[in-house]
Symmetry: C2
Subunit: 407 residues, 2 copies
Amino acid sequence: MTVAPVNPPARLLMGPGPVNADPRVLRAMSAPLVGQFDPVMTGYMSETQELYRQVFATRNDATLLVDGTSRAGIEAAVVSLVRPGQRVLVPVFGRFGHLLAEIALRAQAEVHTIATEWGQVFTPSAVEEAVARVRPHLVAVVQGDTSTTMNQPLDELGAICARHGALLYTDATASLGGNPFEMDAWGLDAATAGLQKCLSGPSGSAPLSLSEQAVAVVRSRHRVEAGLREEGDDDAPDPVLSNYFDLGQVLDYWGPRRLNHHTEATSMLYAARECARVLLDEGRDQVVARHARAGAAMLAGVRGLGLGVFGDVAHKMHNIVAVEIPAGVDGDGVRAALLHDYGIEIGTSFGPLHGRVWRIGTMGVNARRDAVLTTLAALEQVLRRAGARVPHGGGVDAAAEVYGDAA
Amino acid sequence: MTVAPVNPPARLLMGPGPVNADPRVLRAMSAPLVGQFDPVMTGYMSETQELYRQVFATRNDATLLVDGTSRAGIEAAVVSLVRPGQRVLVPVFGRFGHLLAEIALRAQAEVHTIATEWGQVFTPSAVEEAVARVRPHLVAVVQGDTSTTMNQPLDELGAICARHGALLYTDATASLGGNPFEMDAWGLDAATAGLQKCLSGPSGSAPLSLSEQAVAVVRSRHRVEAGLREEGDDDAPDPVLSNYFDLGQVLDYWGPRRLNHHTEATSMLYAARECARVLLDEGRDQVVARHARAGAAMLAGVRGLGLGVFGDVAHKMHNIVAVEIPAGVDGDGVRAALLHDYGIEIGTSFGPLHGRVWRIGTMGVNARRDAVLTTLAALEQVLRRAGARVPHGGGVDAAAEVYGDAA
């Protein structure tokens, strides 16, 4: 077989992610490689750590990248923080809560879940009741679950966990950058993310941060790798059940000892560094505000087209909305027409929402006025051709009003 | 903190890897993203699978990428193929053999090792004796171990394992592309690699291939992820101890069902696809021959400078040589001077060889005449300034002779 170099078509990615990468991030990835322990490389690693401290709003020294997709970051956090048999509590409000529970189960934890209806979030008191009852070592909760679009408030959960002696971990993959996030102020012990949502990068690198308390757990299970161990090195009797995801070893590599672990994924590091750099260059609060505005405009726009919206909208993420598929309209047909005729991708959905809603994202570099208006204009045309009755210009006008101007 | 975009200095990376990426691979990574289930994306995924079948010389349907560095591929293979308590035999002839043993231990295998002196490989009969004694479920062996530069012959090991009912896995990270590799002809059940050595790409994606027999093991432990499971889906009682590295789930994602697992790392997929494409465009045998020649030239060159070479040179990889540091010469000082004055990186070494040898690579896009001669010319100058007596032009002349011409 012979193939040509990749030459992807133009796409406006308005689904639940991955979304379009910022062109500056794509350019960063084409920079030449340097050696693993070249001072230039270790300098980039240290800068990347400092940039993600700012992105996560934390002073945690233990802030770094896990080399893999966002779920690699999740698994690294869970498997490093939880010993087999320890209790983990997962409040599940969508598909990615099920994923946290699955990952904890495979790490041989005793997993307890509480559930809420899809489209809702948990009250702090519901979480506290469960924490008091289960007495978990770790509470693992998704911040923004794209499967339902909900954004779980976390600001009170750190204090609850602290009161009951539990660590608090959150998967902020879908929410970080587009919604408020305060690692230290909220008392989080661990947080992980990915690049492919509000950070405007490709999937494949997972920023992660650990509090001092979380680092203490990781250190208590620390074992230096067999081929590198020297006299006096840590050799815990119950090491993490993974070498790749052993955050103690990963910390040794990112820390001053620079002890070889994996070979850091250079180009993805360049991407992750640039994602954080462009975000902080615009300003963390400004980026959240841009997502809030684009999300409000898209919400107004789909309502302006007469479409219903799923879930507790007061608690949805800024960067995604679940739009009810009108009766008699072929949801997959609409998605295919948007892709084929307009080069625009919107998302399908999982589980109980499958076939019931489209998920439309406004995230990262795509959280902007022209992307919102273009999507609404195209959706109006596609819905019309699919036989739905839609008010002419109703989507675009409502969205433009959010932006304070006429379209 | 504000930082500028990455702007790495010019480097000629002649160490044990990562080495310079092919500029075509770097360019591929700057291509725009497409959606995860866009037909263009799934088409690229299928093409990538077919390209790596050719690279591995296999007809294995189960050929795909693991999203992480080369050791992510290793861990995915081991943790998916080995149940807790099963016996794994690791012939250890360098640091990366210790890594295989460590990863298998963490997967709760009963790990048995055999050892040989650093700088040597195992005879088939030594492996067979151990297989007959240990009766392992899996034999896990590194093909090329950069820590010693040795290239373990694998061509008889598949038959040995088959006779004794063991599966055979090899870590071909450092060797694939630069040395002969015949997955099917040698009877391998699993193989993994990385991009950052002879494939001329960045670290961060791990090509992997499984035989039908290996797939049967993976399938026997198959459990569809909690949030996606439907009536009648597999739900094995002893799933793999990892979600991220559960090759059964990864196969569902790469296979016709396209069941969501991680979000494929788009830019790294572009890179991996381009690495294979440029390799196959030049021709698999031609690329190995180019590495053989560059390796022979570098070997002749360092000897022409009067330097000793470590290990059983008849069994070393084409793409790396371990060069003894002359008495009285500061090994790290020479490496620093090469980097500072010439922008050339060569490698230090691990374990018993630490401080005794430099490791000089000729791999991927750097397995070429001008890179070899430039490195030797610079090394001569640096050695001279470090007080070593070196024959003027002795390295370059000997290397040029291998290329059949005067320098």
